[in-house]
Structures are given as C-alpha cells and as structure tokens.
C-alpha cells in the first residue's frame, strides 16, 4: 500500500548515493592520474633535462631554465669530449671488457648451473652451499686482497684486471640459472642421455633453447654490472688509456666539474646505452622478478 510512496524516496536516495559515489570515483580517478603524472615526471626529468643540457652550450645551461629544450641543439659538447678528452677510448674500453665479462660469465655460470641442477657427482650439495655462502659476502670485503693478488701477478693496469674476477662465472648467476634449470623435467635430460647425447650437447641443444628467458636475464645482469662497475676498475687501472666510462666520468667530473655541458654529455655516453637496453629488454627485466622466485 505504501510501497509507491516509499519506493520513490528510496529511488531518490539510491540515485543520490550513486551520484555521490560516482563523484567520489571521479575524484579518486583524478587523484590517481595526478599521482601517475607526478611519479612519471620524477623518474623522467633527470634523464630529460640532462639530455637537453648535453646539447646546449654552457652559457645556455647557465642562463636558461633546464626544461627548455635546446634551440638549436648542438653536437659540440660530444665532439669535444670525444676528440679532446678521450671519451672514445673510454667507450671502447668499456665495450671490450663488458662484452668479454658478459660472455664468459654467462657461459661459465650456465655450465656450473647445469652441473648443479641436473648432473650428479660427489660433493655437489656441499659445493652448492659453498657458492651460496659466498653470496653473503659483501663485495667490498674482497677488494683489498684481490688488489694485492693482482699486483703480485703483475696484472694491474691491464684489461685482464678489469674483467677477470667476474668472467669465470659468479655464484649469483649460477644460482639464478640453476633454479630455472631445476624446473625442466628430469625426464627430458634422461631421455636425451639414453639416446646417446653428451652432456654438453644436452646443455647447448636442449636446455639453452628453452631457457632463453633466464639466459637473457643473466646476460643483462652481467652486462649492466660490467658497464656500471666503478670501484674495481678505479683501483686496478692507472693509465688514462685504460679507463672505462665510469672512471673516465669520475675523473672528468673532478677536473671539469663546473663545465656542465661537457660533464653531462659525458654522463649521457654511459646512461643512454643503458636506457636503450632497458627499452629493448624491459619485459624481461620485469618478468625476471618472478623468475627469481623469491616468493617461494
């Protein structure tokens, strides 16, 4: 009887509620996108402004606001650092040692990982625990004795010194790839062995093709580590001609710190390749987090 009378105010109430929640939703949405923009800006502006600055002459950097793009952009800064200040050599040095480091580290870590994952031999578990415990040791602890070792082997101030401690395979890479290899069913390898495959054939022809994600991850990690490595190359190289980019940039910064145009151009020589690498491999970087299986 009173249903129509009560229905109307209920309907209005419901309509009001929906309107306010819609309003609330759009406020939340605006807030969300505002935050998104702020966050994106925070992470992009350092790159963006240094790119702008690297293409401006020094007086423009000092007089203009950093968010103004260079008009017109000039290549002079890069020309100067490559012709007058040896950045070409630094770049070449970095490429050489990083490629060698990466190739060796991935290959040898992969071999070790495969041995730990799917081959049986005495002492396997104890050796794996040894690898794991060395993971706990911070890098800095081995720095001084490694330097002494290299000094006595007369290897200081050579390319060898820069990549040797990392080229024979490192426990983290071994661990990473071993965990992945263990998800490959044992039957696959056993079938291949019964067919008469050698272990190395199993590794290279069977395991590697299906392990591309983890291998790409390990390669990326190794390459980025080698490219960004600073403290070790700093202490083992003396001659300018052997400097890698990080050492070259640090020296350049201490000698020419106020010449922002040159110093930022120099930094970009190191940063831009990493940005490119990131753009190409970002899917792998993001998915490698789940590959490392830390939630287990």
């Amino acid at each position: 009887m009173t249903s129509v009378a009560t229905a109307a105010p209920t309907a209005t109430a419901a309509a009001t509620m929906e309107r306010t929640s819609r309003a609330g939703r759009s406020v939340r949405t605006t807030l969300f996108y505002l935050l998104l923009v702020v966050i994106a800006l925070i992470f992009i502006t350092p790159y963006l402004f240094s790119v702008f600055a690297a293409f401006k002459p020094l007086n423009s950097i000092l007089s203009q606001s950093p968010w103004r793009p260079p008009t017109p952009p000039t290549l002079d800064n890069f020309k100067t650092i490559f012709s007058q200040y040896d950045f070409g050599r630094y770049l070449a040095n970095t490429l050489i040692v990083t490629v060698i480091l990466t190739a060796g580290q991935v290959t040898f870590s992969m071999m070790g990982a495969y041995a730990f994952a799917r081959m049986s031999f005495p002492g396997r578990d104890s050796l794996f625990w040894l690898y794991l415990t060395t993971l706990m040791v911070p890098n800095i602890v081995t720095l001084v004795p490694l330097y002494v070792l290299f000094a006595h082997s007369h290897l200081l101030n050579t390319y060898w010194a820069i990549f040797l401690p990392y080229v024979l395979g490192v426990p983290y890479s071994v661990f990473l790839m071993r965990q992945y290899f263990m998800t490959i069913p044992k039957e696959v390898m056993e079938a291949a062995r019964l067919d008469g495959c050698s272990e190395s054939r199993i590794l290279w022809r069977i395991v590697v093709p299906i392990s591309r994600p983890i291998i790409i991850t390990a390669t990326l990690l190794a390459f980025v580590f080698g490219w960004n490595n600073f403290m070790w190359p700093l202490i083992v190289t003396n001659s300018n001609s052997l400097n890698v980019l990080t050492v070259g940039i640090a020296n350049f910064n201490s000698n020419f710190g106020v010449q922002w145009n040159l110093v930022l151009a120099g930094s970009l020589v190191a940063l831009i390749p990493m940005v490119i690498l990131f753009a190409i491999f970002q899917k792998h970087i993001v998915s490698s987090i789940s590959l490392s299986g830390i939630n287990r």
């Binding site: 101030n157 696959v188 079938a191 008469g196 495959c197 054939r201 003396n238 001659s239």
Partner: protein, 461 residues
Amino acid sequence: MSARRPGPARRHALRRAGLIIRIMIIGAALTLLSGCAGWGFSGSGGGKTVTLTYALWDPHEQVGYQQSINEFEKLHPDIKVDIENIPYGSYEQKITAEFITGGAPDLFWVNTPWLGTFIKDGILTDLTPLIKASHVDMTQYYPQLVAMHSRNGKVYGLPKDWDTIALYYNKAYFAKLHLAVPANLSWNADGSGSFVTFLKEATTDTSGHNALSPQFNPGKIATYALAVNNDPQGGWGNYVAEVGGKVIPYPYAPYASLTTPQMNAGMSFLAKTLTGDHVIVPGTLSGPNANGANLQQMFSQGQVAMWEEGDWNTLSVKSSVTFPVGVATLPIGPNGRVSVFNGLIDGLNAHTPYPKQAWELEQWLGSPQSQAILGRGGYVWPAIKSLDPLFLQYWRKQGIDMSAFLTEAHGQVVNFPVSPGIGDALTEIVNDLGPAWLGTEPVSTALQTAQKDANYVLRTS
C-alpha cells in the same frame, strides 16, 4: 618440445667447453694486445730512440718546462720526453700506485710532504754517485734545498725551484687609507708590537672606522687587514717558526712536537689574539676548517687587504684582481723574521728501465740552462741562486715586485718538515686544529689532539 636425434659421434663435453674457453682466451688476448700496442703505454719506440715519461701537476709551469724539454731534445736527439700532467689532488697516490704496478714515470716532481715516504719506500734513486761522476756543482743551489733533499749523506734530487711565504697586498686600498705598508713590523706573543697596531689601522668597518677607533663595529667589518689560513706552509707555519716552534723536532722524526709552549704561543697569537682583535679573517669565513679556500676570492673582492700566501699564487692573483698588487715581507717575530722554505725536485724512478737517459734529463733540469728558461719566463724561482734576478725581472715587467719573497729566501728560513708520512700527518694536524680556528675549542686542546693523531701517522708510516 623436440630434440634433434644426435648423430652416432659423441662430442666430449671437455672439448666443447675447451673450444669455448680457447676462443675466448684468443679473443681476449687479441683485444688485450691491441690495447697494449698503440694505447698509452710509454716505453721505447722502434730503434735506438728512448722515450721518457716526465710527470708534473702545474699546467702553468708545464708551459715553461715544455720549452726546456724542447731544448733538451735538441741536445739529445736519441731521447724523447713525454710530459704527463697528473692533477695534484691524486698525484702522490698515482705515482705510488704506478710504482707498485711497475709503470711509474721515469722522472716526476716530488713535493716535500711525501719526500720522506718516497725515500723510505725506495721509490727515489740515490743520486750521490751520479752527481760525483758527472761533477755536478751542488754549491750553485740554495744549501737549505740540498739539505732538505738529502738523508744520511745521500742526495735524492737536484733542486730546481724554491718558494717562500709573503704578504700580497692591495695597493689601491692602502693608497685610499693613506697608509704605507712598513717594511719591518714586529709582534710579540702577548699581542703587543707594531704589527698588531698596523693591522688595526688597516681594518675598516662599513662606516669607515678602523679597529683602533672607539666607534669600530666588529660586527660590520668591510675589510680585514690580513688573511692567514690554517696551513703549516702558507699560514700559521711561519708564525710558530718565528716564536721557535717546530712541527717535528728534527727531520725524519717519528713524532711531532706540537704541544710545546712555543707552538701554543704562535698558534694562539693567530687563532685567539688576532682573531679576537678582528683584524684577520675569522676561521668561519676562511673556508672549511679555516683552510683559506675562500681567501683568494675575498682578496680580489677587496674584503681583505693583505693575503699571506706562497709565491706560486702570483699568476692566479694577477689574473683575478683589478687593482695593483704589492708584496710585503712577513712581520718580525720574537725569533726574527722566518719564512717556511720549500722546493721541488725531480725524483728519478728507482725502477726506471732507462737510468742513463733519466739521469741525463735530471741533470738538464738541474742545470743553469734549463733553470734560466724557467726563471726568465716567470714560472718559478730557480733553485740556482744566481738566476733569481731573471724571475724578479719578469714579474717587475708585469707590474708586481716580488723582491719580498727573495729577501726572505736570503734571510732566516725554516725548511718544510720532512719525514715519512708527514703529508698525512699534516692533514690530520690541520683537521684537528680547525676547531681552534673556529673558536670552538681551546688552542691547547686542539694541539694535543693534533699531536696524538700526528704521532700515530708518523709512527706507522
């Protein structure tokens, strides 16, 4: 997932791994060799020409040395010299690291803070037999320089330059005040004497009153009379010497002598008396730890009338000021007028692969012919006494009278301290004295801390 059926031949795992390893080693070796051959390794070229590396840090003096090297190469067509500039901040560390690695330059500048360490570690060649064999006349040099670079009768370098400390002053400012800068001011440890009076006359506040006037406002000082920094060479080192204090009691002493009454008196004169009289730039304005980093700028902006420093600053003073500059001698203390005296040598790498050629270069750089080039161009005071007028003439033409530095060199001087580790010890001392200069700690306490830290460094170096 498919696996290709293997052929009947099995490849040994070792062979595969070995192949990879071999390829990498060859690749690495090739890149390494290509890296070695053309890039940045000094050493002999083809044939009989020997290339020596000569390291220094001052880019201005480098111009003069290059001229001298050009002459040397004309006289020795079979020796080439590459000058390598290593910035001063990392110079000692780089030379040491390169010596450890085996690639140190054949000849390199040696400054006194690390002279003792280099001698003790065997980095420098004992030149005594070479000097005798080549009949080098050691009497042509300032005797204090030869003594500075000798130990137990062995000489480790031919002196090539010297420097003293004096007062650069702003001629325009003193002309405005109608104040002449007297030649012989004196001070006493109790703060009396013509020096303090003069400093008060030369300090003006923003209303134009000097520090002797009762209306003087120490909170609004426009120009300080004097800038002295927390430094054992260019700053307090001279004052403590003028009152009989010594940083270390004797050369190669393994401990410091900072807690003597003389050290206390000299340091207090500056950090307490003169600072309290508001006539010298306070430690807080001078730079971190009162190290004087800001003083050159203050001098060129007219905020300080007299800047106490070493003569190696002349070129940068000239290029940064707009007023005529004069140089006055240090004041006379209770023990007379004493300046800290220093000079560099070219160290001969004890492990050089070319000892004969390196000695030729060392001899040349210690010779009157080479030092005349450096003196005539106004780069440094030559260590050969008779050549000093050349340097004087050059700067007279530039409008700065440098004779005050020379007067002090011919007067009483105290050698820059020599001992293994003295460079690091002096860094500790300066750090520990900072609070005294900033007024946050009594001078005697700061000196005691400095003594403790310096003793540790000297003992373990």
